[in-house]
Symmetry: C2
Subunit: 162 residues, 2 copies
DNA sequence: TTAAATACGATAAATTTAGTCCTATTTATG
DNA sequence: CATAAATAGGACTAAATTTATCGTATTTAA
């Protein structure tokens, strides 16, 4: 449930690796594939998709490879997820194919799921690749979670306006 | 990507429906199945699972059915998701089978994914079924999203402690 | 005694995800 | 200019997961 796809993981791993080579030669798919033990053909496709979505730049030919098209701080987790797997959609109806849902006519959760969807997009848009890099060696302090929880709760399901 | 399973949707729909009958007879799976056009056998399993996880109570026999075991405010979306589909785990390693991941030895996102996972659990723990009921007829105000976004960002990826 | 209901294991069907194969194109280098 | 290393991408296969069904047992009001 709510598992990231392997392709997303490959994308996140690759973006952080590419950034480490920022001032050097572009990094090849084969290099990343070997370094992180990722199936080469599949990784190629993932990187190509990131290029199409303007997250990476590519250089073709012998000394070719990939580089960042913008800084880590300007790439959100949501950007990566949407680039690789298409729009994040908590439900089928949000994704547009509501006529493919047998519950649509009577559904009692549809509108609230849109609210959750909005908050969830904000959640992932608020996490940048720079954050992932920075925290990669840190430990989240569990005892701090209560404060975070109450702070977070305030933000969700705001009072009705209008 | 990040789609709720149909079973989760059936659970959420059912919990809200069961609550509407709070002071009446217990609601049968068949009633909910017809009302929301949900496959009966599958819905039965979903409701049984909610009973096993102390979210619903059941009454067997002819006039049997289901009722809430606690108020909507005391049931979080996370409770429901975990009851139906098991622990929410953003990655395989978080779910415990890290020896099934070929990237584990070299992975550069593992620790940060744990951070995201924690925040995500807080996110869904902070949404109660009462919230879903209350908001089912409201509209989220898009223009308010910026404020929410910046407030939300502050909570994520806290400064390193220790 | 009967019928309506929950309980639940086993299995099948459908869908999605993960990975492979193949071919084309680009380009640095000898 | 020939070669080899690299990206680009379509088509396909395999694996895994999700969704749904089947069958049987048990409970209980009427
Ligand atoms: S209509 Fe309801 S059940 Fe159908 S996809 Fe939307 S939220 Fe889910
Ligand atoms: S080790 Fe890294 S790649 Fe493997 S499951 Fe964990 S986060 Fe994902």
């Amino acid at each position: 449930m709510l598992r990231l796809s392997k392709k997303i993981e490959y994308a996140l791993i690759s973006i952080l690796e590419v950034e480490k080579h920022a001032n050097l030669e572009p990094v090849s798919a084969k290099f990343i594939s070997r370094r992180y033990n990722i199936p080469g053909e599949l990784l190629g496709k993932v990187l190509q998709t990131l290029v199409r979505n303007n997250i990476l730049n590519s250089v073709q030919g012998v000394k070719g490879g990939y580089a960042l098209s913008r800084s880590l701080g300007e790439i959100s987790m949501l950007d990566v997820m949407e680039a690789i797997d298409g729009p994040v959609a908590l439900t089928a109806c949000i994704d547009g194919d509501f006529n493919n849902c047998d519950q649509y006519p009577s559904c009692n959760i549809r509108v609230s799921m849109e609210v959750v969807q909005n908050d969830l997009e904000i959640f992932f848009a608020g996490i940048s690749m720079q954050d992932l890099k920075t925290k990669s060696n840190n430990i989240f302090i569990i005892s701090e979670m209560d404060k975070l929880k109450s702070a977070n709760k305030k933000n969700l399901f705001r009072e009705k306006i209008n």
